[in-house]
């Protein structure tokens, strides 16, 4: 394990990459691609919230910035999506830095930080809804131009593999981060900011780096979302749904772990689908919101009984099976 730290990532990614070879149903492929996008958004949240202990309730601000930048750079400026993507990620990083600079300098933490991120997301949402440049309430439509050079794929598997490649990169990045000096500083700030500072850790710089990186990663999720659905409005891009999912996935999967967001996103979306279809079959019609009720219950149960998420539970069971309780 310690010799080959990246082996588990390689195995998991290879397994996920092979999935579409066996499964060809469009529903499954759409589900997988969407799960990868949520994983990316959640991995961004996890770096700031899981490793850094700064709970953001407004990660939609980064997701939406990435998504809108991706769409507007193409529609308004005619920039190729492959170039727009890194630009949009840079913009997400910039927004992350700006919000981090303002709020961490003002020493906001805990619930104050959660509140201020929520308010930023709302300001962005209302602005995008009102501003003509972003398409206002009608939203933006990215013209359909199938072709790899336009990052639009006729074969749904290609779109999935692209998202998976991003997930693979962020998994490796998160692992590298957790083994680096920066990662150790980040965890130290999470555990006890005063103590970390007393030991010479520049807490402000560490948190700023984390939120900048987090902003870029979550923005990339927004970019892929734009390319998948080719349509955006303020409630999709900056709405509370993505803030909630980006936060729930790491908490349910395992906070501050490399694989937590991935496991959490798959469990969350899978459970959401099952709930929706079960209730639709029971009552003979779709009921809005039932999946989110389950998410809320799951969040409370996780906080109460599984503070280390599904991965923590699995580790505990494995340990018990081997007879060595952790």
């Amino acid at each position: 394990m310690s010799r080959q730290p990246y082996l588990p990532i390689a195995l998991v990614v290879a397994g996920l990459a092979l999935l579409p070879l066996g499964l060809t149903s469009n529903t499954v492929l759409n589900f997988l691609a969407f799960a990868m996008i949520i994983t990316l958004a959640a991995q961004g949240w996890n770096i700031l919230g899981g490793y850094g202990g700064q709970f953001s309730f407004g990660h939609a601000v980064f997701f939406g910035t990435g998504a809108y930048a991706m769409a507007l750079l193409q529609v308004r400026f005619g920039i190729n999506p492959w170039l727009a993507l890194p630009l949009a990620m840079a913009l997400g990083a910039g927004v992350g830095f700006a919000i981090g600079y303002l709020s961490f300098r003002a020493r906001l933490r805990g619930s104050y930080f959660a509140l201020v991120t929520l308010a930023f997301a709302e300001v962005f949402r209302i602005s995008a809804n009102a501003w003509g440049f972003t398409g206002g309430a009608a939203g933006v439509l990215v013209p359909l131009r199938i072709g790899a050079e336009h990052m639009q794929f006729a074969d749904k598997r290609l779109a999935y593999w692209l998202a998976l490649a991003f997930v693979a990169a962020t998994l490796a990045l998160t692992l590298a981060l957790s083994r680096s000096r920066f990662g150790a500083h980040l965890v130290a700030v999470r555990e006890n900011e005063e103590a970390a500072r007393a030991l010479g850790v520049d807490a402000l710089a560490v948190k700023l780096k984390a939120i900048t990186l987090s902003g870029a990663i979550t923005a990339s999720a927004g970019c892929l979302y734009t390319q998948k659905f080719l349509y955006l409005d303020a409630n999709l891009a900056y709405g509370p749904w993505i803030s909630v999912e980006a936060l729930l996935a790491p908490i349910i999967g395992g906070l501050g772990t490399v694989f937590g967001p991935l496991v959490g996103a798959v469990v969350l979306l899978g459970l959401g689908e099952v709930t929706k279809t079960t209730f639709a079959n029971l009552t003979g019609g779709a009921i809005p919101g039932v999946d989110l009720v389950v998410f809320g219950v799951l969040l409370i149960l996780c906080v109460a009984y599984a503070p280390r998420g599904v991965l923590g539970l699995a580790e505990g069971w494995l340990g018990r099976l081997k007879g060595t309780r952790p």
Binding site: I126, A130, G289, F295, V297, V303, A304
Partner: protein, 290 residues
Amino acid sequence: MLKLDIFLSALANGLMTGAVYALISLGLTLVYGVLHIINFAHGATLTAAMFAVLIAHTVFGLDPYLAVFFLTPLFFALGYGVQRFVINPASHGSDSNILLVTLGLSIIIENALLAGFRSDTRSIDVPYGFSVVEVGNLFLSVPKLVAFVASFVVALLLWLLLARTDTGKAIRAVAKEKTGAALSGINVDHIYAVTFGLGAACLAIAACLLMPTFLVNPRIGNAFVLVAFTIVVLGGMGSIAGALVGGLIIGVVESLSGLYFGESLGQIGIFLIFILVLLFRPTGLFGAKA
């Protein structure tokens, strides 16, 4: 002259809405002052209370101003129970866990209402819904005037409760020093739950006062909750006087900026105040040290 009249009526409307905002914020600031946590489920609880008023009116034919006498104790009990039997045990005493548990609760309440009532916007018809009184050149809506006066009465009662009763003394003791309070024989868990119950009861009263003039849908709480957070932050976390003054200020700012800049930008004004206060004066206007 006409311009001045419009300005004055916007001001009066702002003050009247602001008083209800203040009432909503009272619960939030009380819970913060005692438990030192932010209750994210506050907005969703208000939505639930508004739906309760709606049901009381449509199913039982109960007038909102009568329903207040049933719903206030009901929501007190609900708030008490949820804090004592869900939030407290689930969060293991950690602040960030409480934040997440109340977020979970708000997701559950909001979406359960969405599943039950769909996203339709509803309102109730009461005979006095559109009645007005003439004061000078101004026409003031009667239900809004009632809400204005009632909000101040509730604030006064809450202040009396905190200042004069044994329970109030215990609440203040726990807010200052919970270990010391526990050592002198106060049941801290009970007091926490009572505080939470009081917060929910304030929301039930606010819902009864709002329903004659407002609409309700499952997401309506979101519109109020950030406004309430802004008021609480502006007035100073945990300060009752701050919540009252903050509520009136925000009500007036919203009404006037709506008049001069249009509806959607008026909303942004509130969020910008919120962010600016958090960044530059997190103790608020009346708050002691954070």
